[in-house]
């Protein structure tokens, strides 16, 4: 785990090499090994100092989260943290100078090790990340990060780094004071670290010398100015949904008013509080374990050899088409960007140029894109992705034309967000190679791709589509075919619930605030405007035609009024539920109250939050019952990455687990009596609740 070598100069170079683990991490074993190695090194006669290095890609990635699961096992996890903190305290008070030669990423507990050294030197390598990202996982640094960093660089500089869980490249870390020195290569780094150790007379930490905090302590005017807005800004960002950022503020505020060792006790208690909070478990379950499992291919058919991609064709050079072209070209894949006329294809490439503009490799990316109006140019494409207008006929024509030119084993993907794949596949020559690839807008920013399996889609095609999405660096979830698939279907429940509230006379600002405060990225009226009301109406009409019955959802009724009677079509048209003035922030349309009179008794904030979140969960449970989505893990990740479902919940399935299924069903039954079908839970959920089952075991 740790090896060391004491040179003639008396400097021990300790190498962190947990070779039986994929990356260096802290767990029970490695912490014990570290403490033991340290004592061995310190026992060496003539020792003049210590340099820590890794020799691996990762200096030390932090805690081994798997070994900490379930997080709520405080007995085990707090012992871990205490042992690590004790070892780090021993390191910084060991009597000889210690330098960290940060030759790989040092994150979380890894960077806390560096903070317990007397000097931090990093290799100038842009692949390296340094920082304390704990809050991003719902935790706070637990091995001194909240106590050492502000004592090292001051409150004002440390707070944003800690609160936001920022990580940075070595140059930025140098500027921020997270490292003291940057060196060009591994050898230079080691030499510089060794030289520093040999030149250093006073091997103590600033907090063990005079206790002065750079820029002033908590109870100074500077401290007041730092802390007064800090809590408000945390609330603005988290709406009280995430406990970790506030816990960080508390650790710094409370911990920096007492001696270092007492501060460590304060940090430990707040760390335990976060460990025990459901939010940390939700976040780590979904955004760490869930995401890792997905990326490792849990949903990918196993026995298909991996596919690589050299050339793909994108049909339709509109916003989605150019976004997909960018995503592929930026990952080294050649793209034929085809549209019906050459000018449209050129415009699509211009759109890519705009997206790529800020990248140093923009030229290379653009060179990979061939805009074209000629189907012949699609020859040799290993995949085509259709991104034309949402109309069956138009799509069928585009696909048929392309299929004549591409190899027989090429994958044919449709980027439809709503039309069932099985139906579209019928117009294809090779329905087993036909698949849905639902990208989200804007493609360059949205990490999720929903892979839709049509009735005839082969496992091999699924696996290839999976590999393609991974090649783009995006996260795939595999779902079965059905109206709206998974994400569009469940997301529409949010808009529906919001418009239902509007119809029922809830004050519009309360609806919008409740959406945001519940953790959704924007309110339901704002998001409907962004999707555009005429598109929502078009989808509703398509559904009516397909199902042969009228769409009596609240959304259908309200958007019909807005589009057909009021001529308010959403953000694109400059007016929808909001007005969009040219040079000012959007404001809710004053006329809303003429059409939806606010009722005298308004529901509470919590009630409106529930009215908006529950229908999404109900719809997700229905999709689960319908086998559209086959794992709660994919459903959770898809909900957060796809439409931004309140991340503190861990996703839409974890949300139900969090409420507790029996209570969730009970609440929905009560809501259904007042508000109708949006709250009608499927049988599956009732059965699960009755038998005390959950979507996730822990």
């Amino acid at each position: 785990m740790f090896t060391f070598n004491v040179g003639e100069s008396g400097v021990a170079v300790v190498t962190i090499a947990m070779s039986d683990l994929p990356v260096n991490v802290w767990n029970e074993r490695s912490i014990r090994a570290f403490a033991e190695t340290l004592e061995e090194v310190l026992a060496r006669p003539g020792l003049r100092g210590i340099v820590l290095r890794s020799g691996r890609e990762t200096f030390l990635a932090g805690a081994d989260l798997k070994s900490m699961w379930p997080l709520g096992d405080l007995g085990k996890n707090m012992t871990l943290v205490r042992d690590l903190s004790t070892a780090l305290r021993r390191l910084e008070t060991c009597g000889v100078p210690v330098a960290a030669a940060i030759d790989g990423s040092a994150l979380g507990g890894g960077y806390e090790l560096c903070l317990a050294c007397h000097r931090r030197l990093a290799k100038a390598d842009d692949a390296i990340r340094i920082g304390l990202p704990e809050t991003r996982l719902g935790l706070i640094p637990g091995a001194g990060g909240t106590q050492r960093l502000p004592r090292l660089i001051g409150l004002r500089a440390a707070l944003p780094i800690l609160v936001e869980g920022k990580t940075m490249k070595p140059e930025a870390a140098l500027a921020a004071g997270l490292v003291d020195q940057v060196a060009g290569s591994d050898d230079e780094l080691l030499d510089a670290a060794t030289a520093w150790v040999l030149a250093t007379k006073d091997p103590t930490q600033p907090w063990d010398r005079d206790g002065k905090i750079p820029g002033g302590g908590v109870q100074t005017p500077a401290g007041y100015q730092t802390f007064m807005p800090a809590a408000a800004l945390v609330r603005e960002k988290t709406h009280g949904n995430f406990p970790a950022p506030l816990a960080v503020l508390r650790a710094v505020y409370e911990g920096l008013q007492v001696p270092f060792d007492r501060g460590m006790q304060i940090e430990a208690k707040l760390f335990a509080q976060c460990l025990a909070s459901p939010v940390a478990a939700n976040t780590i379950r979904t955004m760490f374990f869930g995401l890792n499992e997905i990326h490792k291919g849990a949903a990918r058919p196993q026995d298909v050899p991996p596919a690589t991609w050299r050339k793909v064709g994108v049909l339709g050079a509109g916003m989605m088409g150019s976004g997909i072209a960018y995503a592929a070209a930026s990952r080294g894949i050649d793209v034929v960007l085809k549209d019906v006329d050459a000018a449209a294809a050129e415009r699509g490439k211009d759109a890519v140029a705009k997206i790529a503009a800020r990248r140093p490799d923009a030229g290379k990316i653009l060179a990979r894109i061939v805009p074209s109006a000629r189907a012949e140019d699609l020859a040799g494409c290993e995949m085509i992705i259709e991104a034309v207008f949402e109309d069956r006929e138009v799509k069928a024509r585009a696909v048929r034309e392309a299929e004549e030119r591409i190899p027989n084993d090429a994958v044919v993907a449709s980027n439809t967000s709503t039309l069932p794949i099985t139906g579209l596949a019928e117009t294809s020559r090779r329905p087993e190679r036909f698949i849905g690839l639902h990208f989200f807008s804007p493609v360059d920013k949205m990490p999720l791709v929903e892979i839709i399996r049509g009735r005839k889609t082969s496992d091999e095609t699924i696996a290839h589509a999976f590999d393609f999405v991974r090649a783009l660096g995006k996260t795939p979830i595999v779902v079965n075919d059905g109206r709206g698939f998974y994400t569009s279907r469940v997301f529409s429940a949010y808009v529906n619930a919001g418009l239902m509230c509007l119809k029922e006379g809830v004050v519009p600002a309360l609806i919008e605030n409740a959406g945001r405060l519940a953790g959704m990225p924007v309110g339901p009226l704002a998001v409907a405007d962004e999707v555009s009301l005429d598109l929502i109406l078009a989808i509703s009409k398509q559904t009516e035609r397909d199902l042969g019955r009228p769409d009596d959802s609240p959304a259908a009724e309200v958007v019909r009024l807005f589009v057909e009677k009021l001529g308010r079509r959403g953000k694109k048209g400059g007016k929808g539920f909001y007005d969009y003035p040219q040079d000012a922030k959007k404001t809710l349309w004053r006329g809303l109250s003429d059409h939806f009179a606010p009722r005298p008794a308004q529901p509470s904030l919590d009630e409106v939050k529930r009215l908006l979140l529950h229908p999404q969960a109900v719809e997700a449970a229905r999709a689960f019952e319908d086998k559209i989505v086959s794992s709660a893990r994919d459903g959770d990740v898809g909900s957060i990455l796809g439409w931004g479902f309140a991340p503190w919940t861990g996703g839409v399935f974890s949300y139900m687990d969090g409420v507790g299924l029996p209570r969730f069903v009970e609440e929905c039954d009560a809501l259904q009596r007042t508000h109708g079908r949006l709250y009608a839970v499927p049988e599956l959920l009732r059965t699960m609740a009755a038998t005390n089952r959950r979507f996730h075991a822990t």
């Binding site: 908590v218 109870q219 005017p221 401290g223 007041y224 802390f227 007064m228 807005p229 800090a230 809590a231 408000a232 800004l233 945390v234 609330r235 603005e236 960002k237 709406h239 009280g240 506030l246 503020l249 508390r250 505020y253 004050v507 519009p508 600002a509 309360l510 919008e512 605030n513 409740a514 405060l517 922030k585 404001t587 809710l588 308004q602 904030l605 409106v608």
Partner: protein, 402 residues
């Protein structure tokens, strides 16, 4: 029960609370001393009969720290037998000092009390004492803390006050203050501040801008828009009041209370204590009260505390002929008038803190002195002084002229 009577009231003129303000070179303990001396010498009392000097002081640190009330009493040459206590009820401190004195008289003390307050905001800035409410992350979060300016703008938003309306209120305050000076209505209370050489440093409220116009005010930028957006406080206010789409920032330096330096002192005692020195009571303290409401809107306290104090006095609101409602922000007074249906003609008839400034710890006592002078000028019977206070509190005192 003894009645508590008000025998005399003095105050300094208020100096602009900046390094170029007239009172900036005068130490706060000296401001307090000059008022203690004035109230003693004008009434001719023997300070051995004074049980306590109770002074409000909000930012009681540095030279305002360590119990400035006792320090000022010693510095003013009061007998060593006299106690001193500093009280902090934020902006209500000066009136709190008066009410505490009145309560002790009512409880049976036959001694005299000097109550008042002092604040040199130019020397000890507001907020420089920190405090857990605003600064401690857990406390600030739990209590939905926002700075007063955001609270004032939140009140304006909830009540739908436009920028024009709050500005119009501010113009009226300036006009009334100017008129009050023209007619020398503050003459009885106002005691000039002197320097080491005995020369007068300031003899009138320094901040006034009698030529203020609505057009002029319209040009000022709102003071709290940035605090609200960049400091995250608009978001906090909206989370507390989620039916609001946004916060309307209407307050600025011209329609908010001015930052000033000043002090005040009031002589309070039982009927017998006054008689012993041949003093004629000027008013009876009919009732006093304190209460509190939502800390986020923070500044609406004058409404419930006025209801409460009227209940204690057994008076209908119509019995009150004039009100002094501290002009912390225009919206505070507008909200008071709206909620209690009190006409503007009865409120702050001689202007207020928007025109003349709000020296935090002293203001309550200044308001009460102004109320007394005006009751006498009008030969009116009942008057009420009230202030909005941090934390959502409100304080009030009802005077009956005798």
């Amino acid at each position: 029960m003894n009645d508590a009577f008000l025998y005399d009231a003095v105050r300094t003129p208020r100096g602009r609370g900046k390094p170029d303000g007239a009172l900036h070179a005068i130490r706060p303990v000296d401001l307090a001393r000059q008022m203690l001396v004035a109230v003693r010498d004008r009434s001719g009392i023997d300070t051995r009969r004074v049980e306590d000097v109770i002074l409000g002081c909000v930012t009681a640190i540095g030279e305002q720290g360590a119990n400035i009330a006792k320090t000022a009493a010693l510095f003013a040459g009061y007998d060593e037998i006299v106690g001193g206590v500093t009280v902090n009820r934020f902006c209500g401190s000066g009136l709190e000092a008066v009410n505490q004195a009145a309560a002790r008289v009512r409880a049976g003390s036959d001694d005299l009390f000097v109550a008042g307050g002092v604040e040199s905001m130019s020397r000890i800035p507001i907020g420089s004492d920190g405090g857990a409410w605003a600064v401690d992350p857990e406390v600030a979060t739990m209590t939905y803390f926002v700075p007063q300016g955001i609270s004032a703008d939140l009140i304006a938003t909830l009540k739908g006050y436009t920028r024009d309306e709050v500005d119009a209120y501010a113009v009226a305050s300036q006009r009334r203050a100017a008129e009050a000076y023209r007619e020398e209505r503050f003459a009885r209370s106002l005691v000039p501040v002197t320097g080491a050489d005995g020369a007068v440093v300031l003899d009138r409220d320094e901040l006034m801008r009698p030529d203020t116009t609505a057009e002029g005010l319209a040009k000022l930028q709102p003071s709290f828009a940035r605090t609200g957006s960049e400091g995250g406080f608009d978001a906090v206010a909206i989370e507390k009041y989620p039916a609001l789409e946004g916060i309307r920032h209407v307050h600025h330096a011209g329609n908010s209370s001015g930052i000033v330096d000043g002090a005040a002192a009031i002589l309070i005692g039982s009927e017998r204590a006054g008689r012993d020195f041949g003093l004629k009571p000027r008013a009876r303290i009919a009732a006093y009260a304190v209460t509190s409401t939502d800390p986020t809107t923070m500044l609406t306290g004058p409404v419930p505390v006025t209801r409460k104090v009227l209940g204690a006095a057994g008076l209908p609101i119509d019995a009150i002929e004039i009100f002094e409602v501290n002009e912390a922000f225009a919206a505070v007074v507008m909200n008071f008038m709206d909620e209690l249906s009190v006409p503007h003609e009865k409120v702050n008839v001689n202007g207020g803190a928007i025109a003349m400034g709000h020296p935090l710890g002293a203001t309550g006592a200044i308001l009460l002195g102004s109320l007394l002078d005006e009751l006498e000028r009008r030969k009116a019977r009942y008057g009420l002084a009230t202030l909005c206070i941090g934390g959502g509190m409100g304080i009030a005192t009802v005077l009956e002229r005798v």
